[in-house]
Every structure is written in structure tokens, then in C-alpha cells.
Amino acid sequence: MKNKIRAGVPIKLVSAAVSVGLMVAGGQVLAQERVASINLMTTTESYDPIRYEAAFIIAERWRELGFEVNVQPTEFSTALERFYDQQDFDATILGWSGRTDRLDPQFFLSTLDSRQSNLGGNNPGGYENPEFDALFDQQSQAFDMDERQRIVQEMQELYKPDAPLVVLFHRDEVVAFNHDAFEGINPMAGEGLYSEWGPMEARPVGDRSILRIGGPQEPDNLNPLASTSVWGWKWMRLYYDRLVRLSADVEPLPWAAESVDQVDDNTVAVTLRQGMTFHDGEPVTAEDVAFTWNYYLDQDYSYFNSYLAALERAEQVDEHTVHFHLSEPSASFASISLSQIPILPKHLWEEIEDASTLSPSQIPTVGSGPFVHERFDRGEFMALSKFEEHFHADEIAADGVEFIIYADMEGVYTGLQTGQIDVTAWRMEPGQIGLAEGEDHLTVVNVPDFGYFHMTYNLRREPFDDRAVRRALTMATDRERMVNVLLDGRGEVGSSVIAPVNTFWHDPFVERFDFDMEAARAELEEAGYSWDDEGRLVR
């Protein structure tokens, strides 16, 4: 070690001497250094060919701009770990999926909140803007929708010129269904056809009255207090009721609730619909509702913690009324939280001390939803039957829902082609879309997504600590080409973390950063950068 240190000294002296030499020769400060090279982390080609290719499209242009860029395809979980947990990256291409509850701007805006920039937080790039943070708090407590809309749009205008990340594109979810078997399903943004409404809307037009959905993903488990995957909840929400359900336009519709009222800033009152029963015949009461919410608080189920963050306690007031006491005013509680937490039967859960340790056969699968849980054969199949006693039963034409679990999309597509399934639960592979369009019995549906693929810069590192560099790199990112070539036109160039399809919250006036190499160069020049003989960027 000692030797190394000693050896290092003369080298530094030499480089200092060279700098001095340059100063003398040019008669001005010319100690120019090349800009730090960039490692661009992306997914592997086998995990997602689109994000993989996108990285090369970006790298090509950035090199043209004078940066040294190294594309690093990384295994997905490892990439997540390096990005979020270690924040060990220069620039990373990842994405956020569009879950219905994320149509509320709260979550996506929080990814730019500086209080999320700690290790493991949702803002690994480390964007810090006190004004943005202050507005974030204001909007999350604003009950007046127009007021909240104004703040949310202001926030988008605020962060965008700083270019802490590039929203690359929103990828359409392209799904298909067999119109000879079922009709009437309305596609839903971020959900496709396998939304919570889909099975309720499906009308059989063929011989089979049970809707068959096929997909390559299955629930991790069907424990409403342990599942940590969206695929668990996509299925469970069909047999559990919620107080509110979000419409396809994300309007909160009273569901098991007859009405939802704001009593004061910190209290929400819910009046329960009357005459509901659980699948085992027991009535659904306000006691069950209050129990469920308090049970979720006590059991500390991580997956729902963000929905429960504002809740202090649920209290049964009378036979049909529950009061939710909040610790602070929350704009999203009445819309999002009430639409996510299921109603559990108290008589089956109250004795269970630690619900997360239940084995599959011990889990009570009794809900009060429009469908009744029948079975879940891991890796093969899931089934639900229609609940005839449900208040919505008259509107439901299908006699049940079956979900066939395939190993990959190839199997799902074959199932769709041969009539084994009616609907795909997940987006088709690009190669299958053309095939599906050629089949007479299939209808292909393009569903715009409000989830997004992003490239996030690490603002703690050179050269991304310089706003001008970020802006220039963003202008040199050809997103138009990604959508046209990689997505075959099925998608939209990103402009803001709040997608254009999310019309109410999206701000149409954000700075767009259209692809423009000239503007990128000008931006760099203005900030004092120049290019050396080899075309490399120096300052």
C-alpha cells in the first residue's frame, strides 16, 4: 500500500505540470477535462427486449454528443437492488406499472420527493426541490379537486425543466379476446381486459357461460394479509367486496358503501349498503367493516400500509355506519384507500392472531364479492363461481370465471388460438399481435397505459449533477424512434410522470424535450462545455 501511495504522488505532480503548461501556452485557463463516462443500466434482452434496445438507441446518440457511454444489461432483481437499495448507478432504465390506484397522482409524484431519496426509497435519483416537496404535502391534503389539480399540474411544470429523469414512453397494453365466446368487456387503462369490471361485464355469445382468462402469471398466494403481488389482488378483488370501486375513468363509485361522507377534516363516514351477505350466508355488517380496517392496522400488512398511512382507527358508530378517524386530512383516503381494502368476515378472522403465517389450506377465502372462490391449483388453474345473492348479480351474465395458468405467453396465445381461453390477462408479445389480427375469431385491443418506462439519472454523480447536462442528454434521447420502432407505434412518447391518458391530472403544458441534437449541443455550449479533437465533450 505504501508503495502505491508514493508512486501516486509524482504522477499527480506531472499532471499538474501539464495543466500549468497549458495555461501558459494558451494564456488562459484551459485545464479542460473530459466529462465522466456514463454506465447506462438496463434490463437483459431476455427479460425485456424493448428496454434493452432502448438503451442502445440512447447510447448511440449520447456518444454522438461526445459522451462515453457503456450499456450494462443487468438481471432484473439485481438491477432493482442496485437502483433502489444501493443507489449504485449512473443512469438506469426501469419502469412503473400502471396499477389503478396509481391513477391518483400521489404515488408517481412521490418518486420525485426528496424525502424518498434515502436508500431504498422511491426517489433513487436523488432529485431535491423544497418547493416541489412543499407542494406535494399541499396536494395530498387538498380536498377540493380543482385546487388539487392545479397544484399537481404546477408540480409537473416545476420538476420538468430540471430533467431529473426522462419518461421514455407509455407502452400500450395490447390484449385480445375471442369475440365468438364473449363480448362486452370494456378495456381499462393500466388493466387491459382483466380488470375488476371485466368479468362482471362479459356477456357469453358462445356455448360456454364461464369466462376463461389465461395468463403466464399467477398469485403468489391468496392470503389477503400476505400476498405481495398484483396478481394475487387481481384475483382476490373478484371475490372480496370493497367499500368503493373505481370506475374505468377512476371515478370512485360507492360499492359496498351506500354513501361516503366527509364529516370533518379528519373523519370520513361510510354508510354500508344493506342486505349484503358473505358467501357463507352470514350478513355483512358495519362491525365487519370496522373490524377489517382495524385488523389490517394491527396485522401490519406491508402491501396495504400506504393506503392505511392516514388512518388512526375505524369505529363502528351504528349498525350501518363506520367512522374512519384520520391522523391528518387525506385527499386520497376516500377514493383510493376505500377502493383497495377488502371486507373480511369478522367471524372467520378474529381468532387468527398472525394472519401472515397461515398455510394455503387454512386461509378463509370467504368474501362478499360478486364471485365465490372455488379453487386454486398452483401452476394450473383457478376458479370462481357467480354469487347469486350479490346486489350486482343481475348485471352479471357470466356464470363464473376460470383462470388458466400457462408457463409463458406462447402458451397463452396457443390457448387463445385454439379456443381454450377467451381473454388474455397480460399483454401479448409483439410477434403475436400480427398473428392475432389475422385470426377471424379474435379481436385485438390497444389499451393505453399510464404506467411508464423511465430513465433516471443519478443526480449525486457526475455528469448528472449538472442540470444542463441532464437537459442536453434528455434532448438527445430519441423517444419518437423508440415508440415507432420498438413499440411498432403502439405507445406514446412520455412527457410527464403523470401520463397524458390520465387527463385530469396530466399537465399538457410541460416542457416536452423533443428530440433535437442541435438544441442539445447548444445547451451544452451555453453551459461552458466544448469538444476536443476526438469529439469528446470537455469542460
Binding site: S77, L80, R375, Y406, A407
Partner: protein
């Protein structure tokens, strides 16, 4: 007899030793090599504190040595633990999946050997002829053709174009089976088994075929064949009763190794035919960093290979008296 017993005891001890080393390697390999099991939850929007709590509920907050000793102690008691992902006992998942894999792999391997061994013997008899060349070519072709390719061709032809056979899964759904044997002793199951089993069998066919053929050619040079010929025995009798019996040894070894590795399934076939086998499960468990499930799956596979190797060594001593206990 005592040499035999001490030999067996020594072999069993060696096997257990090997399993212990494998179990240890698996434990550290997955913990050091795989990403954090809760990393995937980030995309679900979970905060670091929430993920830390989940990690603690998996016991991952304890020192790694403590985790290791708990793991060893549990294995000794036959307890493989709880799957992080499924929140279900690992043993339940593995036995079910292993059963599914075996009902596909065993018939397929047996078919390959039942056809491959006599065919190999026959080819050796016709060595140099066009039949021989064709046989070798076909065997090698299926051995080198990727299984996902043969599988997809089989699906395209028999599943989609002709519509004769189902293309995915083990049974026509919805189907209610009360137990494992209930599930597999049905015509419907056999119907589903045909395509994947054929694809696997065609792949395995090459080994017994070529090994049998080549060993037979060696055996033909032996003195006892000369002797049999001199006695005037019919050629067919020499081929099957004398030469083939002696050529079986390497085939038996190969069979045991093949069956041993079959426990891990053929992931490619399981994916192409959406067969709910152990191979797919192993792949998933590694992808989701489900340590308990991944450890146990690989350990079960290793136990299979070790046990079958032991059985082969014992079988050898019966098939060939020249092999002795050392």
C-alpha cells in the same frame, strides 16, 4: 458378506457427506449470489421499512451463521421451511411438483430406453448398412434438436393443425382431483401426456441407442462370442442372449444418471407444454430469490442423483460378477 456390508456403509456415508456439502454450498451460494428476496417488492411500491419488516419475518435479519445452523437443524428433521413467495410449506410444493415431473419423465425415459436398447443392438448387427447410418442419424438428430423446437413443431402439427392432442397442462380443466393418483390415473391425463412425453423420449432416445450399438460392437470381438458362433448358435440368439446382456452395463449407468437428473425436470418441455413440474418451479424460485424453495429443490435433485448412483453400484455387482467390492 462383511466386505459387502462395510462397502455399503461406506458408500452411504459418502453419499450423506456429499449431501451435507451440497446443502452448505446451496445455502451460501443463494444468499451471496441472488438479489434480496424483497427487491421485487419495490415495484409494488413498498417502502424500505416495510421491506425490512418482511425480511425480518423471513428470518433474514439474523446473522448468517445463525440462519445456517437453523437451516441445517431443520433439514435434519426433514423440515424444508416455508416458501417466501407462496407462504406455504416448501415440502408440500416440492412433493407435488416432483410428482408431476416424474409422471412425465419416467414414462418418457422408459420409452426411450425400451426402444433405444433393442434398436441399438439391432443397428450394431446391421453395422455399416444403410439402416445403421439412418438409425444413427435419426438418433443424433433428435438428441441435438432443441427440445423447445421439437415441442413447438409437435404442438403446431398435432395440437393446432390436426387438433388431435391437447397442447398444455396435465388435464382438461376444470377438473377436480382429490389426490395425486386421482389426477394421473385417467384417460384425460394420458391424453395430455402423449405430446410432451414423446418429445422428451425422442430427445433421450439417442443415448441408449448409440451406447448400446457401440458397446455391442466391442463385445462382438470378445472370445465368448467366437465360442458361441463355434457352437453353431443362431445369430439372433448370439445377439440378444449373449452379446446384448454383456453390453448392458454402460446403458444401466446412463439410465441411472438420466433418471437421477430427471428429478429436476426438463424446464424447456415444462415451459413449452405449460406442465406444472419441478423444473419450472426451480426456475421461478431462483428468479424470485425464494431461498427455502430453491435450496430444497436443488437438494432433492442432488439426493436423487446420489441415491441412484449408489443403486447403480449395487446393481453392477449383480449384473457383472467381475465387479467386486473394494
Amino acid at each position: 458378506m462383511s466386505t459387502r456390508r462395510s462397502y455399503l456403509i461406506r458408500r452411504v456415508l459418502h453419499g450423506l457427506m456429499a449431501l451435507f456439502i451440497i446443502a452448505t454450498m446451496l445455502f451460501f451460494l443463494f444468499r451471496l449470489g441472488l438479489p434480496d428476496p424483497t427487491a421485487a417488492l419495490i415495484t409494488e411500491g413498498l417502502s424500505p421499512e416495510e421491506r425490512e419488516r418482511i425480511r425480518a419475518s423471513f428470518g433474514l435479519d439474523r446473522p448468517i451463521w445463525e440462519q445456517y445452523f437453523i437451516y441445517l437443524a431443520n433439514i435434519l428433521q426433514g423440515d424444508f421451511g416455508y416458501s417466501f413467495h407462496y407462504r406455504a410449506p416448501v415440502a408440500d410444493i416440492i412433493w407435488e411438483r416432483l410428482g408431476n415431473t416424474m409422471v412425465l419423465m419416467l414414462p418418457a425415459i422408459l420409452l426411450a430406453y425400451a426402444v433405444g436398447v433393442p434398436l441399438g443392438a439391432w443397428l450394431s448387427w446391421r453395422r455399416g448398412s444403410r439402416t445403421d447410418t439412418t438409425g444413427i442419424f435419426v438418433g443424433l438428430m433428435f438428441r441435438s434438436a432443441p427440445m423447445f423446437w421439437t415441442g413447438m413443431i409437435a404442438i403446431l402439427v398435432f395440437g393446432i393443425a390436426l387438433g388431435w392432442l391437447p397442447t398444455s397442462g396435465m388435464r382438461t380443466l376444470p377438473y377436480e382431483a382429490t389426490g395425486f393418483f386421482d389426477k394421473i390415473f385417467t384417460l384425460d391425463f394420458l391424453h395430455h401426456l402423449i405430446l410432451p412425453a414423446l418429445v422428451v423420449a425422442l430427445y433421450y432416445l439417442g443415448s441408449p441407442l448409440l451406447i448400446m450399438r457401440n458397446t455391442m460392437l466391442e463385445v462382438y470381438g470378445e472370445d465368448f462370442i467366437e465360442m458361441a458362433r463355434a457352437k453353431g448358435l443362431p445369430e439372433r440368439r448370439i445377439l440378444y442372449a449373449h452379446a446384448a446382456r454383456n453390453a448392458l452395463l454402460p446403458v444401466v449407468t446412463q439410465l441411472a444418471v438420466t433418471v437421477g437428473l430427471a428429478a429436476g425436470g426438463q424446464v424447456v418441455v415444462e415451459v413449452v407444454f405449460s406442465w406444472p413440474g419441478l423444473g419450472r418451479e426451480i426456475l421461478n424460485s431462483v428468479r424470485t430469490s425464494d431461498f427455502p424453495l430453491a435450496q430444497a429443490s436443488f437438494l432433492v435433485m442432488a439426493a436423487f442423483v446420489v441415491t441412484l448412483n449408489l443403486l447403480v453400484d449395487i446393481l453392477y455387482t449383480m449384473l457383472d460378477p467381475r465387479v467386486s467390492f473394494k
